[in-house]
């Protein structure tokens, strides 16, 4: 691995405070931490920087015990979009959202933005900084940009000066194409193209947003006055948090400013995959299921009509689905088939399934068994999107014997020396 880039970054950071670092020594320290001790590069950079800061008697990020030597002219004023992890910055921006602090050590957290973009900020409780108000502009002098979960994060510590400034710009950010989103803060203009089952009690909604350039997962966590988005509607989403997990981006739009837009967007359908193989398992919970009728809930109910959130729901809604495994001989793919796909594949529609469930002595189990007998062990071609290790199937068709394929294989088996 090449350490010169990280060293350069550290060097730049300290030269701003008028300090020269010993590059060789720094590189050696980085190499030791990363190669010998398996420390993550970002953590090694932080550790070496902090050590140097202590040496030079500059308040280190988050230490809170400094003397403010780095304040004033030592940091340069920057546009927010230019702020990189490791920078000491002075910037002016508008607090566009505030979030509930995640820990008592944090006084305030939220997003501050200027014309160039936004950045998440954290004000440490021990910094004794004045409380900032949502919608107001501030000058923040001598704060530190670090990284938290791969996202740049502006840290307000005890050496930082915050002053409110007179400015009333409406500040409307330019939405970026979904393809160009990077971890941090981003704004998009996109359509809700799918809504997924929520996977957590505290989750209000999750699904897929799409624009002309791509798609991205979104999530809204439950907070007072948060509302769900409507599928098929276009929204402008300002200052969403772009997270990265398992090399996939997702938008947390809980604290974002969301505005419904007119018109439509032709969304990119890219990302569809096709997997051919045999269905080797049909999981419990397949067949006919009951869903919670509470608007926006739609969770699958237990046999006793119990919804994990809304308890007993006697006026449930029936639905069809198949959860299972599709196996191509090299890898097994978790698949989820929705009602229309299940109907087309099994030849059993919702009304017929309802009829069986209500009149057969085995009830809903009978639907499961009939569907299993129709699809288990069959070769199918499934097209859909693979999300979080599960293929959400849009179409699933039975495969048929092709004599051309047969002839090709005969040649291959017999044609070898």
């Amino acid at each position: 691995m090449d350490y010169s880039e990280v060293t350069e970054r550290i060097s730049r950071k300290f030269s701003k405070s008028g300090k020269e670092i010993d590059r060789q020594k720094v590189e050696g320290k980085l190499r030791r931490l990363i190669d010998e001790f398996g420390v993550q590069p970002s953590e090694a950079e932080r550790s070496v920087s902090n050590e140097l800061a202590k040496e030079f008697n500059i308040p280190a990020a988050g230490s809170g015990g400094g003397t403010g030597a780095g304040a004033g002219g030592a940091t340069e004023q920057k546009a927010i979009a230019q702020a990189q992890p490791g920078d000491w910055v002075t910037l002016e921006g508008k607090v566009v959202s505030l979030a509930a602090p995640a820990s008592p050590a944090i006084a305030q957290s939220g997003i501050i933005a200027d014309e160039s973009g936004g950045i998440r900020f954290v004000v440490w409780a021990k910094s004794n900084a004045p409380k900032m108000k949502e919608g107001a502009w501030y000058r923040i002098e001598s704060a530190v940009v670090d990284e938290y979960k791969n996202i740049p994060n502006l840290k307000v510590h005890s050496g930082t000066t915050i002053t409110e400034i007179e400015k009333t710009d409406p500040l409307i950010p330019e939405p970026s194409p979904i393809r160009d989103l990077r971890p941090g803060i981003g704004s998009v203009r996109a359509k809700v193209i799918q809504e997924w089952e929520v996977t957590h009690d505290r989750m209000l909604q999750s699904g897929l947003l799409g624009d002309e350039t791509g798609t991205v997962k979104f999530v809204i966590w439950k907070e007072p006055s948060k509302e769900k988005l409507a599928v098929g509607t276009v929204y402008s989403v300002f200052y969403a948090q772009v997270d990265e997990y398992n090399e996939r981006l997702s938008l947390n739009i809980t604290t974002a400013t969301i505005m419904q837009e007119e018109g439509d967007i032709v969304t990119a359908t890219g990302g569809d995959v096709e997997i051919r193989g045999a269905i080797v398992h049909i999981a419990p919970g397949s067949g006919i299921i009951k869903r919670c009728p509470v608007p926006g809930c739609n969770r699958a109910l237990s046999r006793q009509n119990y919804c994990p959130i809304h308890e007993i729901q006697p006026n449930f809604v029936y639905d069809l689905r198949i959860k299972g495994w599709l196996d191509d001989g090299e890898k097994t793919h978790n698949i989820l088939l929705k009602r229309d796909v299940v109907e087309a594949l099994t030849g059993i529609n919702l009304d017929q399934a309802k009829e069986i469930a209500e009149n057969n002595p085995l009830g809903m189990d009978e639907v499961f068994l009939q569907m299993r007998d129709k699809v288990l062990g069959r070769y199918v071609a499934c097209k859909g999107r693979e999300i979080e290790n599960r293929l959400l199937v849009n179409t699933c068709e039975r495969m048929h014997f092709e004599s051309g394929e047969h002839a090709k294989l005969l040649n291959r088996a017999g044609g070898a020396p």
């Binding site: 045999a278 196996d327 001989g329 062990g377 069959r378």
Partner: protein, 199 residues
Amino acid sequence: MSGTAPEMGRRDGSFEREPARRVFASELRECRYQFKDGEDEKSPTFVLLPTGERSNRIFIVGTLTEKTRQGEQNIFYRGRVIDPTGTFFIMAGSYQPEAMQQLAKIETPAFVAVIGKPNLYQKPDGSYLASVRVEAITVVDKDTRDLWVLDTAAHMLDRVDALATGTSPDIVKAKEQYPSVDPAVYRKMAYDALAQIKM
């Protein structure tokens, strides 16, 4: 460090199901070596195919020609599933109640698809018997059987091709355990199986 290192294949918390290998009866009959991947009691057991691939699970489609109920207290079913190259011996006991009920219901002969776990047993005379413990079995049509023959032939030819040049741990182990494997035998096996499907 970005989390993409090869050893991260099984990510924390995300379970990866063992794929069902495609194998003809004649190849399974040649198996002599099975091993555990790991020390744990629950570590999966693999049967090593002579063509150089481990199999913890297999998918077979063939004709169920007979089934017999055995045992007094612990009932289990045995069956024979025929493919173009030979016979699979399948069984389902009380530890696989659903599979056993499915097998009990099927009238022979019938085309069946079987998903199951292969196991090797050494008989008193020193020879080996490969049997398949059924996880699931369903009646299917001839189209599915024909597709399976194509699929299995293609996978076996892929394995034979890889055997010539490949260096995967399974291939290395297969060359140790089955020193007399002749790729031509397996090509012929694939050819004969394919030739049995009428054009």
